[in-house]
Symmetry: C2
Subunit: 410 residues, 2 copies
């Protein structure tokens, strides 16, 4: 089918030809409403008029950046990779991925389950909501997705097929290369220049050669280390959550990259939330819960990754009987420690880039009081710096927690 941009009328005509969708509604009487909160895409809520509890989401990419307009072209093929990633992740661990009713790479369109009892995690965290199942869920999600799409699980040819499917996600990978690893640390038109102007923190960051040299090394890892299929943008805005369930959405940045990048993104966003509660709400109890959650997520990630590995004997990397069990255990532990180290490095880049770079986070850039915002920026940059300078020597999750606590106490 040839690509055509839909609207709230034509999307209904389109859906009426899709048996699985119409079976779901069990009626012809459906209607669509556009919810305008997408930065990149058009998103429709489609409801049965007879039974308003029957709802699906339709997401269609357009060949430009929606929040800016048609004058900012961005190829709609990003939806191709989102569809492929959703399906791949669903095939590995369906529990954390919305159910897909229909997808079309030609139409850059996907029809998904509507998550009506779930909140964007960032919003919940800002309101001090403790998601007690979260560390259990997200550690399973990350360990399963990363392990089962890596050369530790796949055969050599399966790994290459996976790379084939995602290697073309050029535009969004380049966005990350530029925005996360370069522009946010130098004078650049894409930055929040209102804030950069006369800000001593910006001066300090942009001239911090020790930090920037390390960032360059991490950028190189991002570009050249093909470990596993990543979500590519795993912040708390890509997580829909409630007490009992956790869903990871919007994997349009998916590509085969370094293990630590998704974990680092999540870590960065949890720490940014910790900073918000340190400086703005001063909610001591929630801060404690956040630190505990960070520790649990990272500890459990390692344990579960190793557990999946222990259940999986042969792969591109490991030939049966190549190495005795004891040495192999040793190798695996070091391997997981290296993932943790890279995660800390990437988390540092991700935190620092949110301060002056093009896309801020609500927890920091959203602070209205300029004095408090400056404090939050300063703390974010101090933690980010420690992460980036020290990541290669991190030996335990506790050291990460200590960095966060020590800088926050200063």
């Amino acid at each position: 089918m040839e690509y055509k941009q839909l609207d709230k009328i034509t999307v209904i005509d389109y859906l009426k030809n899709i048996t699985k969708v119409m079976d779901f509604f069990a009626t012809d009487k459906i209607e669509a409403e556009e919810i305008g909160d997408g930065n990149l895409n058009f998103v429709y809520i489609v409801k049965s008029q007879e039974d308003p509890s029957k709802v699906l989401i339709v997401k269609q990419a357009v060949p430009y950046l929606r929040c800016v307009g048609e004058e900012f072209p961005l190829s709609r093929e990003r939806m191709t990779y989102e569809i492929r990633a959703l399906k791949k992740f669903y095939s590995i661990f369906p529990r954390f991925i919305p159910n897909i009713y229909h997808d079309s790479e030609d139409m850059s369109l996907v029809v998904m389950e509507f998550l009506d009892n779930h909140l964007i995690m960032r919003k919940g965290l800002m309101e001090s909501v403790k998601y007690t199942s979260f560390s259990e869920h997200i550690s399973t999600y990350m360990s399963a997705m990363l392990f089962y799409t890596s050369s530790l699980a796949l055969s050599s040819s399966e790994k290459r097929e996976l790379i084939d499917k995602f290697n073309g996600n050029t535009e969004l990978c380049k966005l990350t290369e530029d925005l996360v690893f370069s522009f946010a640390f130098m004078e650049h038109e894409t930055n929040d220049n209102e804030n950069v102007k006369d800000n001593p923190l910006a001066d300090k960051l942009f001239t911090d050669t020790e930090f920037k040299e390390k960032v360059l090394g991490l950028k190189y890892k991002f570009m050249a280390q093909s470990d596993a299929l990543l979500h590519g943008d795993l912040h708390t805005g890509s997580i829909m959550i409630n007490e009992d369930e956790t869903y990871v959405i919007d994997p349009e940045f998916a590509f085969v990259g370094p293990f630590g990048f998704d974990i680092g993104a999540l870590l960065a966003n949890l720490v940014n939330n910790y900073i918000y509660h340190s400086i703005v709400t001063k909610d001591e109890e929630f801060r404690e819960w956040l630190l505990k959650t960070i520790k649990e997520v990272l500890d459990k990630f390692g344990e579960k990754f190793l557990k999946f590995w222990s259940e999986h004997k042969n792969s591109a990397l490991l030939v049966d009987d190549y190495l005795d069990d004891k040495t192999l255990e040793n190798y695996k532990k070091k391997f997981v420690k290296n993932i943790l180290r890279d995660s800390v490095g990437f988390a540092g880049c991700k935190m620092a880039r949110r301060v002056f770079g093009v896309a801020g986070v609500e927890e920091i850039r959203g602070i209205k009081d300029t004095t408090l915002r400056y404090e939050a920026e300063s703390l974010a940059l101090r933690i980010a710096r420690k992460f980036v300078i020290k990541y290669e020597n991190i030996d335990s999750v506790n050291e990460i927690i200590e960095i966060i606590k020590a800088e926050s106490a200063r």
Copy 2:
């Protein structure tokens, strides 16, 4: 054109339809002779009957391993990657690549310049021929090919296009994964089991867990580090040489992999030759020349790689004005040191695998006297072990030379 396996008659009919080839011969009277020294492919020498100085080489892959027979299937698509690599390398630095007159991925066939004044380098080295231009040539070849196909030179999308072109070379990459990094270090049917039997060196190697754990790390780098387009099998049998010219041939193993792998392959083969002259010919002067050559190759590689880098400002990695010159120089020097380190690690794997693995080298496995061969094997394994255990801490080319000398003196 549909694939058809040619013979010495039909290859002539095929060539007669190719203008560029017939222009070269400037006559219809051409004849072909099959030279049977290919392990994998059919190779024809095609001559003008009127002017025997006019000669071209035709190389065609067949869908099996030629040296074993049709019962050992090996997809002929390997020629697709050889053709693509030859053309890519030619486009970067034509001087070291045979001129190509015609190629067809469909026919798995390439028509190339005949290198009649050149010898396979391994043969020359075994006869103590000093190729005085070699270190200059091969260091230019390696630095140019690796630099200009990496994210240090290419844009983000160019790098992804390159990966797209070579990612499908699954079969030959898997051969390397299995044969270079796994089977040669354990009991396996593909090994030279006549020699493995009752050989204390094999016992020692197969139970050397410290060594094998490091090899696993290097295997992982081979599989997951997408630095640059590699030749993939850069031993001295892939080099055609004389005093004045150096040609690199047979890049059928080409893929986007770690910088150090080609350099390591070459280093391993030069050291194997050094071992041959240490144990068999005892040609002191040639040994000295070999050590000097190894040092020159590695030193010049680093210098030239850095020189290419200094001439090339923007790339996927580097954005103009991101970092001051001094810090950038520092970063680049560390980057090149890491390439050197990985090269040493890969060289160790490559040397060790030649001892008991499926494909031996003439310098070691070809030694007729079993006592001398055992000595050579022992020395190769000692140097290989040092390379693999120490590679991450190598700081200079001199340390590599010292390892070779120290183990040879024992």
